[in-house]
């Protein structure tokens, strides 16, 4: 980054962009909207403090997440990111119910097949009308794929932190 070209933040703040400007690596001048939205929601001073408290290798991800949150807050001034979290939590709950239904269904099928009247190994002689006899060898029932249901009881901490008892889908 050349010293003659101020970063987006220094352009917006109308100040000289120092060589060690904390914003310069993450808010290039060709994307002024990125800093504008972060400044609108969090404030340049707060963003600067947050970045200064973090090691260098984590700052890029921090800026990305701040931009994401700022965009979410501008799109939804009431709930911001929290609206998305609530929506996703609902989706997880619904999918877990679907999973439970599917697991119950496969258990039923397994039980039905295990209780089938046909024997597994011994041959069965069946009499028939045309005097022909048939051998019937029945192979062992196939070994079903054992499916260990991973009941991921997720996000108890999220549920505890959930502030809204109602659906927040905007």
């Amino acid at each position: 980054m050349g010293g003659n070209s101020p970063c987006a933040s220094c352009k917006l703040l109308r100040r000289r962009c120092a060589k060690d400007c904390i914003f310069a690596p993450y808010f290039p001048s060709d994307d002024p909207h990125k800093f504008a939205i972060v400044h609108k929601v969090f404030g340049a001073s707060n963003v600067s403090k947050m970045l200064q408290e973090l090691p260098l290798h984590q700052r890029a991800d921090t800026v990305s997440s701040l931009v994401y949150e700022a965009n979410a807050r501008v799109r939804d001034p009431v709930y911001g990111c929290v609206g998305a979290i609530s929506y996703l939590q609902n989706q997880v709950s619904q999918l877990q119910m679907q999973l439970a239904v599917a697991q119950a269904e496969i258990l039923c099928i397994q039980m039905q097949q295990e209780q089938a009247p046909i024997t597994t190994t011994s041959p069965v002689l069946l009499e028939e009308d045309d005097k022909s006899s048939l051998f019937l060898h029945q192979n062992d029932l196939p070994q079903f794929l054992t499916f260990s249901s991973s009941n991921n009881v997720i996000y108890d901490s999220f549920k505890k932190e959930s502030l809204f008892g109602q659906d927040m889908i905007s």
Partner: protein
């Protein structure tokens, strides 16, 4: 005499006016709530955000701002976005589990049908055929329908 200032005005060390924008949502009995929000968003920004909203939406907005600030303080790098990423991953995992079970159900369904078809087809043991004579059906001794 007990102080009647809200948590925001206490924190900012100023007089709390009767129409203070913060007082309804940042009561004095929960100083942490405003402290978190102020640390991440700044009092000025929070005041602007609340003022831009209709009165009946401000309580939810204050709650969500507190939640986001709390997440950001707990996880300074990813904040709420970290939770969103985890939820997306969990959704993907559960969808994979559902797809796997549905595939198993489909497999069991087709396997059950093929078992029924195998039961109908005869299995001819040559030794047995040698004992059974005068059968109406003639079979090739070498033919084995089953393995």
């Amino acid at each position: 005499m007990a102080s009647t200032r809200c948590a925001a005005c206490k924190y900012l060390r100023r007089r709390c006016p009767s129409d203070c924008i913060f007082s309804l949502y940042f009561p004095s009995n929960n100083p942490q709530r405003f402290a978190y929000v102020h640390k991440i968003f700044g009092a000025s920004n929070v005041g602007k955000m609340l003022q831009d909203l209709p009165v009946h939406r401000r309580a939810d907005a204050a709650d969500s701002l507190y939640y986001e600030a709390h997440c950001r303080i707990k996880d300074p790098v990813y904040g709420c976005v970290g939770i969103i990423n985890i939820l997306h991953q969990e959704i993907h995992n559960v969808q994979c589990q559902i797809a796997k079970i549905q595939a198993e159900i489909a497999f069991l369904g087709t396997h059950a049908q093929s078992d029924q078809q195998l039961q109908i087809a005869p299995n001819l043991d040559p030794n047995f055929l040698a004992e059974q004579k005068g059968l109406s059906n003639s079979f090739d001794d070498s033919s084995t329908w089953f393995f």
